[in-house]
Amino acid sequence: MPSAGDAMSMIFETLPFLLGGLWTTLFVSMAVVVISLLIGIPLGCALVFGPAWARLPIRLYADFVRGVPILVLLYFIYYGLPALRINLPSLLAAIVALTAFKSAQIVEITRGAFQAIPKGQTEAAQSIGLGLFDRFVYVLAPQAVRRFLPPFINSVVDTVKGSSLVSLLGIVDLLLSLQQVIGRTHVALPLYVLGALMYFAINFPLSALSRRLEKRFV
């Protein structure tokens, strides 16, 4: 085991490389979060308010994706798409795979947020003559947002953690860059701990925010 001083200087030397991996992790996570919101929220609303012919496929999609481990989905999309002659750059394929998974989660969170609103709110809104659109915009959506945010922020944390799986596809995210540094320097444990701390530094503020919002809103 190298001395503490050696370890420290080693870490400093490799820091730029690790930061490159960190950037990839953050980029992938943010891309997945944004796209899954754009897909998941409309689908979630359709699940709650839409006609039966729309609800069924969305329900099937959400249940299917959530019954399969994210790693398996990742493998399939990443290795399966080229087999079907769909060739995407590896980063994009990974993002597509993670987004497919996360969108299903967002659908569930959206559904839960609306269903947590007491039925009396809809009745009161109907009683003063508001149509579906006005009900949605002025009464239901504002209340749903409050119930949406805490689990959503938790899912952002999940996304950051899930992004580490792209390392298994050879994409140099924080985890893989960590492993590559370990491969060169043979200093395993301290670097793994450092990596854990880096993920922790990203996620812990988000978790704390989610908890604070939960207390305030729900």
Binding site: A124, S127, G129, G131, V139
Partner: protein, 269 residues
């Protein structure tokens, strides 16, 4: 009361409603004239709340009809075919049968004034300024000028319910539906809410209230309707209902309300 009576505001004919295998309304007929106050009383499960909620189609009745000013609430006739009204049509109709709820159902993210303004702007087409002044006026009428910009979470139960009443009445509906509006309140808060209802009744508003407050029903109602097992058993002025009572079930029901001082037979009002 003139004999050439104008069309009743509310006309309910042979109304039936089932929840699954359970038939809750078994053919109800009821007619309400403009300016009348009807109190509906009865044991739980008798269908009184369901009846009220059918009037604004929050419960969708199966058979029979409910008409507000001659317009059927739940269904429209086109080419001899009866079809359920669309949500948009229902929205228009429901405004005229505004409801006050047992659980208040104020919109928690809006202030008291905004709760009232929302319907005025969206359903009655008022401008924001007009809506605001109407809302302020009504809040003053129910004694809550100090709470115009308060959030529902900051109000007591009685205050919330008064806002709920203001929200319904501000729509100037043809009939006000009051669904056990004091049942969820602490006893000491009931009075302030009933006070508002009393004033509204005195103004000549058409109201239908489902209530357990027997003394209040006797005081304010023009007619008292007693429901039991899905049918209307009695539909008569309060003096008859709360006076000497031949109906077994009704006597048994009223007997449970101890302290209800049934008057000795009094001369007709």
């Amino acid at each position: 009361m003139s004999n050439a009576a104008p069309q009743p505001v509310i006309e309910i004919a042979n109304l039936t409603k089932s929840f699954g295998a359970l038939q809750v309304l078994k053919g109800v007929d009821l007619s309400v004239e403009k300016g009348q106050v009807i109190a509906i009383i009865g044991p739980s499960g008798s269908g009184k709340t369901t009846l009220l909620r059918c009037i604004n189609f929050l419960e969708e009745y199966d058979g029979g009809s409910v008409r507000i000013d001659g317009v059927e609430v739940g269904f429209s006739e086109a080419n001899g075919k009866r079809r359920r009204r669309t949500e948009r049509e229902l929205a228009h109709i429901r405004v005229d049968a505004a409801m006050v709820f047992q659980q208040f159902n104020l919109f928690p993210h809006l202030t008291a004034a905004q709760n009232i303004m929302l319907g005025l702007i969206k359903s009655r087409g008022k401008s924001k300024a007009e809506a605001r002044s109407i809302a302020e006026r009504w809040l003053a009428r129910v004694g809550l000028s100090a709470k115009i910009d308060a959030m529902p979470g900051q109000l007591s139960g009685g205050q919330q319910q008064r806002v709920g009443i203001a929200r319904a009445v501000a729509m100037e509906p043809k009939v006000l539906l009051l669904d056990e509006i004091t049942s969820a309140l602490d006893p000491e808060l009931v009075g302030e809410v009933l006070g508002v209802v009393r004033e509204l009744a005195a103004e000549g508003r058409t109201m239908i209230l489902v209530t357990h407050e027997m003394a209040f029903a006797r005081e304010v109602a023009d007619r008292v309707v007693f429901t039991d097992q899905g049918k209307i058993m009695i539909d008569a002025p309060p003096a008859l209902v709360f006076g000497e009572q031949p109906n077994e079930r009704l006597r048994a029901f009223l007997a449970r309300f101890a302290g209800l001082q049934l008057p000795a037979p009094t001369p007709a009002r």
